[in-house]
Amino acid sequence: MPEQISIFEIVANASPPVLAVLAILVLASLASWVMIFQRWFSLRQSIIDMDEFEDHFWSGIDLRQLYSELDGQDDLTSIEKVFVAGFKEYSRLTEQSGADTESIMQGAQRAMRVALTREEESLETHLVFLATVGSTSPYVGLFGTVWGIMNSFRGLANMTQATLATVAPGISEALIATAMGLFAAIPAVIGYNRFSARVEVLMKRYNAFSDELTGILYRAAHSRG
């Protein structure tokens, strides 16, 4: 029984374009996994933070007290930033004389919207990269495969006797590129779908919270006025 060629030997003997494709794909896969883990941890942390903040917020604490607790801290969580932005704008506008309730609320809402947009952006970091890897790396792998097969058939043209043994290594080498492309793409696509769904859920909760806060501030502004 002849020794079967190891996959690493095949890769070592691959032609430069195929090698380049493989290198790109390995890097893409590595990078996408870094992103996946990073997003995973940070999104999980965001959800935990959100739960904690909501518990704290609805515990009956005075908003002014909560604001003074949070204001000036460096490492605010996303939802805290939204709250701080909204409340800061509200208190700043109420301190100004002559501002009516509508304009106060509009200002507070605007500040919260800006903060929300910023937070959404930070939640979605790397998701674009994952989407790109997921959608392009199969094509990159396919390019390597086509190139490899092309080469192995071109080599066949010079042979007087075409046997399977002369083309098989080339094709095998070429197919590794496709396998590698899929290896990089599948986790990236799954990661992208999962994380974008999670971001959407989080954003819904943030939006709901900012609406609730608007309602509370509106009530407060009216009772004051």
Partner: protein, 233 residues
């Protein structure tokens, strides 16, 4: 900046570990695959067909010194087979007589010649039998090649059943080319017989020993027994 690095350090280590694990799995996973194929293949080869060359060959070589009728054996190996069954008591009797005579001779010789001479003779006998063993071993390795080639070329008809037996007589020329294939014992199924014959004809040429003595003895004519044992029904 440092906090940013900290955010990415753990994911990076995890991603690296994951890729290393994948590589290891790929490297290790390559070997069981190979072993599996090594396990499965022989079973298929093993069960498809049985070549009974040694039984045909051994009586021939064993008979040659006793009966010394090579031409008869060569021309009629089929008829030659039942003969030993009938004549076995006779042969045994002859052998016993011969042995007795030899023993007597030996005793006489022992009396005449020195002890050292007999020792020398014994050693000679031993080396002679060693040489014969070696020949048989070489022949067996070639027979295995024949067996494998025939198995590879044999496609059984759907009507084949376990324990069907077809015996073919194969004649070769010294180059190893098949010159004649004749059916000795039919399995009772025409398609099966034909497939067996086709298997030998398709093989066309067998690897045979270059030594003419070995070839004449084991490969000029030999019988193949086709018997599937791996069928489900």
């Amino acid at each position: 900046m440092t906090s940013q690095l900290r955010y990415y350090f753990v994911p990076f280590v995890l991603a690296l570990a994951l890729h290393a694990a994948a590589m290891m799995a790929l490297y290790a996973g390559w070997n069981p695959d190979r072993e599996e194929s090594r396990l499965i293949k022989p079973r298929m080869v093993h069960a498809q067909l049985i070549v009974l060359t040694p039984p045909k060959v051994r009586p021939k070589s064993a008979r040659q010194p006793v009966v010394e009728k090579t031409p008869e054996v060569k021309t009629a190996p089929v008829k030659a087979q039942p003969e030993p069954v009938e004549k076995r008591p006779d042969l045994d009797a002859i052998r016993r007589e011969q042995e007795r005579a030899e023993r007597e001779k030996l005793l006489e010789r022992l009396a005449e010649t020195s002890f050292w001479d007999t020792l020398q003779e014994e050693a000679d006998d031993l080396t002679a039998s060693d040489a014969a063993d070696e020949e048989a071993m070489i022949a067996r390795s070639y027979q295995f090649g024949v067996y494998k080639l025939v198995v590879a070329n044999w496609s059984r008809p759907p009507s084949a059943r376990n324990n069907m037996e077809a015996k073919m007589l194969v004649e070769l020329v010294p180059t190893g080319d098949v010159v004649a294939v004749t059916l000795l014992t039919s399995s009772g199924n025409e398609a099966f017989d034909r497939s067996a014959e086709a298997a030998v004809r398709k093989a066309r040429r067998f690897e045979v020993p270059v030594e003419s003595k070995l070839f004449e003895r084991y490969f000029r004519r030999f019988t193949l027994l086709f018997r599937p044992e791996d069928l489900l029904r």
